[in-house]
């Protein structure tokens, strides 16, 4: 039997040899992964909220009454060709008034006093996300303002600035919390794996004694760690799905973790389990190599 088969067999058998210890460590790792998953869920929903709010950022370009056809054509071409512009919708003044009328609903009578249409022709410009920063949107607005036939450009300068600051703060807080949760999970996993190693100290000593290489000693524990990591993240994934499902019944806006993110979560669990084993074993093997 090759040492590779030996390590695979030992890794799987290790899980079965001490079922209570294995179940306890999978449960502890699973709960730790669940906390990480809750954080991931918060991040996904924070991101969705940011995208939803950002999508409302757009530029309104009000045109002069006496704008010439050539100027209108020029402005239209500029907007359509600009890399930051996702859509540019021309809204003639009559349509703008009709829309306004719809928005007013029963207060439509307020417009009866008007002798003429006070609204100008308008371009409603929707931007790509990377053009919604304060600097870029302000630069684009200034460019449009300087064009012939443009009366006024509005995009809510202060509002966009505040929104961007809130988004940056939220993302930074999210990253910080993520790092704290990930490091805590790693410690929990490494210590859980260490318990397993203490329980198998005799076997490690025996393997060293009979001349197994460091790689052969390490591999069954890494395989065991990976298996535990996968089982723990499956447990955490199940708990998260139940949590999301329960929340979505109360708050329909709650977004669940996508299938690809759940796969990444399980893969992360496997890596965490394997890495936890390597980190915990290092002490044993270093002591050995110093002999």
């Amino acid at each position: 039997m090759s040492t590779l088969l030996f390590t695979l067999r030992e890794g799987i058998l290790n899980l079965r040899r001490a079922p209570l210890l294995s179940l306890t460590s999978i449960a502890v790792m699973g709960l730790s992964m669940f906390v990480l998953g809750i954080f991931l869920l918060l991040t996904v929903n924070l991101r969705a909220a940011i995208v939803a709010v950002q999508s409302q950022v757009e530029i309104a370009v009000f045109l002069r009454e006496d704008i010439r056809d050539a100027e209108l054509k020029n402005l239209d071409q500029f907007l359509r060709e600009h890399p930051g512009v996702m859509t540019a919708r021309f809204l003639p003044r009559d349509e703008a008034l009709a829309e306004f009328r719809k928005e007013l609903k029963e207060k439509e009578y307020l417009l009866e006093a008007l002798e003429s249409n006070p609204l100008p022709d308008t371009f409603e410009v929707a931007l790509y996300d990377d053009w919604k920063s304060t600097e870029r949107i302000s630069l684009l607005a200034d460019q449009i303002s300087g064009m012939a036939g443009v009366d006024e450009v509005k995009y809510g300068r202060e509002w966009v600035g505040r929104l961007n600051r809130i988004i940056v703060a939220a993302v930074l807080a999210d990253l910080f919390l993520g790092a704290v949760v990930a490091i805590s999970s790693l410690f929990v996993v490494a210590n859980t794996v260490k318990l397993t190693l203490i329980a198998r100290k005799d076997m490690i000593e025996l393997m060293k004694m009979v001349g197994a290489t460091a790689g052969v000693i390490r591999r069954p524990f890494v395989i065991e760690g990976i298996l535990k990591g996968v089982l723990a993240s499956l447990l955490a994934g199940t708990l998260l799905t139940i949590l999301t499902w329960t929340l979505a019944h109360r708050i329909p806006e709650v977004k669940p973790l996508s299938i690809s993110l759940l796969f990444a979560f399980i893969l992360f669990g496997a890596i965490l389990g394997g890495f936890g084993s390597v980190a915990s074993l290092q002490g044993y093997l270093q002591r050995w190599s110093r002999e």
Binding site: M1, L206, V210, G211, E291
Partner: protein, 243 residues
Amino acid sequence: MISLVNAGKEYKKNHWTLHAVTFMVQRGEMVFLTGPSGAGKTTLLKLISFEERPTSGEAILENYSSRTMKRRDLPHLRRRIGLVFQDFRLLRDRSAYENVAFVLRATGSAKGGLHRRVVRALAAVGLSGRSSALPDELSGGEQQRVAIARAIVNDPFVVLADEPTGNLDEATKREIFQLLRKISQAGTAVLVATHDVGVARELNARTLFLNGGKLIEDRAAPVRASAAVAEEAPAVPLQGVRA
């Protein structure tokens, strides 16, 4: 060939557990290491198994020297050394067969057929009929036999036994020593650390006496009982440490 040349071990500063010990053991020789507790027997075995490196002097096993051996060679060297302990150190959740097979599996040394080699090793220690028993189902003597089978399954050039009969009754003790004797007669060097001086005398084996970390006597095996071994084992100069 196993030799220690002026080998000393200092664990704490100015506290030498072994002082400049020199001796040589040939293949097929059985040597007892004896002396009171704390004499340095276990440390000496640790130097020979390269579990520890000497602070001064040199330990040599076949082509490996403690001075020049690289760490990556340590596992390869250990595959050529069989270790036997007082507390057996068997894996409690595996059968006698699995405990012996473990060595071959962990070292990838199953050439020549894992099953055949394990069965032969268990037969050599008289445990053919007990291969599926767990350690807890075996007597102390049987457990030590499994440990000996584990030590010889990889065809080592030396078996090192540290107080192998410390937990056994008189009759079982004799059986274990006879077994080790048979192993040495088959060509493997056997070094046994023991308090039991009488057994060494009974078996007519060469005996090294240690006291306070010093080798105070190297008593050769009587010629009448083991002429062949005595011929192979030259007298070892003790460089002034003989009492």
